[in-house]
């Protein structure tokens, strides 16, 4: 009984995980499980299944055609504001290099001659004009150029950051799903009208499956600075929060779900949590 429940749950998860565990020794009930592109999202009945309308960009007026099921673990996960914050901070900091530089005593462009004799002057004793006591002297413990702030946020914090942000976007009605990014014309006014009429918020981020975007939308948005296109692999917490509205294509949604669920359920966690290396390839 327990094993059967487990089997159902495992089958319900995306095919990548099912492939990871070898299924053959469990008694399968083939009647229930049909070979569909995706297995069903619902398991057990106790679930937080999300759903969204799939509309289009062909017409200015919204034409919602179908409802798409969104996986609860990606689009309905607990919105961890602290993890989102850590992701934002990380995204800001890891690339940041501080070029501020101050001169150390040896570097100050002054002679190292003793300014005046030790005794007899009635003045304070000094050995060099470069000292920090002097105006124009060195700075102690000052910034030294090229201070990097690189660090890698733990892998699963980054994954949960993405799922939290997606969930937040969806629940706050800032996530929209479209069939594809095909526009009838490359006129920027078209897209402006569309966005205005649909109350999609001033800035919009369009995310598609591929990195080569359709011609019309690329040319149109080329002239609009506050609306941008992005491939799925560029998805990040900062961009999602920066842009008020997030528009995903169906293909992008599928890809995001597949990738995030894989990372959440991968059997080789020790590989994922290894030390970060710059030239790492999966």
């Amino acid at each position: 009984m327990l094993l059967n429940c487990l089997a159902k749950q495992i089958r319900a998860l995306p095919s990548t995980f099912a492939a990871a565990c070898r299924m053959s020794s469990v008694a399968t009930e083939n009647a229930e499980f049909t070979e569909v592109e995706e297995p069903p999202m619902v398991y057990g009945g106790y679930t937080n299944l999300r759903q969204a309308w799939v509309s289009n960009l062909d017409t200015v007026k919204e034409n919602p055609s179908t409802i798409i099921d969104l996986h609860p673990q990606v689009f309905g996960s607990r919105p961890r504001i602290d993890i989102i914050h850590e992701n934002i901070v990380w995204q800001r900091k890891y690339r940041y290099v501080s070029y501020a530089n101050t001169k150390v005593t040896a570097e100050v462009n002054m002679s190292s001659k003793k300014p005046w004799p030790q005794k007899g002057q009635g003045r304070a004793r000094h050995g060099t004009r470069r000292s920090p006591l002097f105006k124009g002297g060195s700075v102690i413990h000052g910034p030294r150029s090229h201070t990097t702030h690189f660090y890698m946020l733990p892998f699963y914090k980054r994954v949960y950051g993405l799922t939290s942000t997606l969930s937040v976007k969806l629940i706050q009605d800032d996530l929209h799903i479209v069939k594809n990014l095909d526009l009838p014309s490359d006129d920027p006014s078209y897209i402006n009208d569309l966005v205005d009429s649909r109350l999609w918020g001033p800035s919009v981020l369009f995310i598609d499956d591929t990195d080569t975007m359709p011609r019309n939308i690329s040319l149109a948005l080329n002239q609009i600075k506050h609306m941008n296109l992005m491939p799925v692999y560029g998805l990040n917490v900062y961009s999602m929060l920066k842009y008020e509205t997030l528009v995903l294509t169906v293909a992008a949604v599928k890809k995001i779900q597949e990738r995030l669920l894989y990372q959440l359920h991968r059997p080789d966690v020790h590989q994922a949590t290894k030390k970060f290396m710059l030239n790492m390839q999966n």
Binding site: L6, N48, L241
Partner: protein, 306 residues
């Protein structure tokens, strides 16, 4: 992270302002501010008192006891762990963990089990660079299961019929496996072969031909040639004799694997130069095109068969 309780939490957000970069905050106490010492508290002499060598960073080397023989030199050396870093190690895998992996469908028992199968589960890992030479199958309770209330020995509870190939094992584990009608073999893999076996995908992506597995070193040759250890270099007849003997010793009836429908699978064994089941040395496996390329040059063939 996902449950029907998230619904309430998420619905809360619907009535709150839009989440943006400007209204985020970390948990209290998550980030500790670096309060460096300044002025009276923590500052001035920064905990080093007045003058003296301690304030002027003039310390003696650690352990120095102002001339008398220091503590760490008072006692004679005892080479308890001499050369430990050079010896072969076999990280243990208990039968209890193995049983659990099989029950949770992490391992497919209709095919022979290998070190690569165990590593692919993600639950068992090996580091050849740390002188790990394979899996040591033990009959103890695993740390994995210590939370259970009834702790029973792994060997007593082992119920699966498997064909498993390990690198080191003990007599009672062999008995536990053979009692259920399974087959266990111990075989040796040299370091290069280990790296390949642990992560076959990574190896195939290198685009190299599968190399030959090397023979064991002198201090391991007798272990892998003895039938009592089910070594891969041992005489199969002697092994069947040993199976019989073991059954007598441990007091179970030796199941007849000849009558078993999975006989072919259970009896399948690797050649002493083979790393993977079903793949010979010299073959090139390409995962992208899903092809296997075999050498045609007679010199190469002869080399890979040697």
């Amino acid at each position: 992270m996902t449950s029907f309780t998230n619904k309430n939490v998420l619905n809360l957000l619907r009535n709150l302002p839009r989440l943006s970069i400007s209204n985020l905050r970390n948990n209290d106490g998550a980030v500790k501010k670096n309060k460096r010492g300044r002025a009276q508290h923590g500052g001035d002499k920064h905990g080093h008192g007045n003058k003296g060598s301690k304030a002027r960073q003039n310390f003696m080397r650690p352990g120095y006891e102002t001339g008398n023989t220091p503590f760490y030199m008072k006692f004679p050396r005892e080479q308890y762990y001499r050369d430990h870093h050079v010896k072969r190690q076999y990280p243990p895998l208990s039968l209890a963990t193995l049983q659990q992996m099989i029950d949770m469908n992490r391992i497919d028992i209709t095919k022979p089990i290998d070190l690569s199968v165990l590593c692919n589960t993600g639950l068992y890992n090996i580091k050849p660079e740390d002188k790990h030479f394979g899996v040591n199958l033990i009959d103890e309770v695993s740390f994995f299961l210590l939370s259970f209330n009834n702790i029973v020995m792994g060997a007593d509870n082992f119920k699966a019929k498997i064909n498993i190939e390990v690198q080191w094992t003990s007599e009672s584990t062999i008995a536990a496996i053979e009692r259920n009608g399974g087959v266990i073999t111990t075989s040796f893999f040299d370091v290069n072969s280990l790296f390949i076996l642990i992560n076959p995908k990574k190896f195939f992506q290198r685009g190299e031909a599968i190399p030959r597995r090397m023979i064991p070193p002198e201090d391991a040759i007798l272990y892998y040639s003895s039938a009592a250890n089910r070594g891969y270099l041992a005489d199969p007849e002697k092994i069947s004799w040993e199976r019989f003997v073991l059954a007598q010793k441990y007091g179970y009836k030796l199941p007849k694997i000849e009558d078993d429908p999975d006989y072919d699978m259970l009896v399948s064994r690797k050649d002493q130069r083979q790393i993977f089941y079903g793949l010979e040395p010299g073959w090139v496996v390409n995962l992208k095109d899903k092809v296997i390329l075999k050498p045609t040059d007679p010199q190469l063939k002869e080399f890979y068969r040697s």
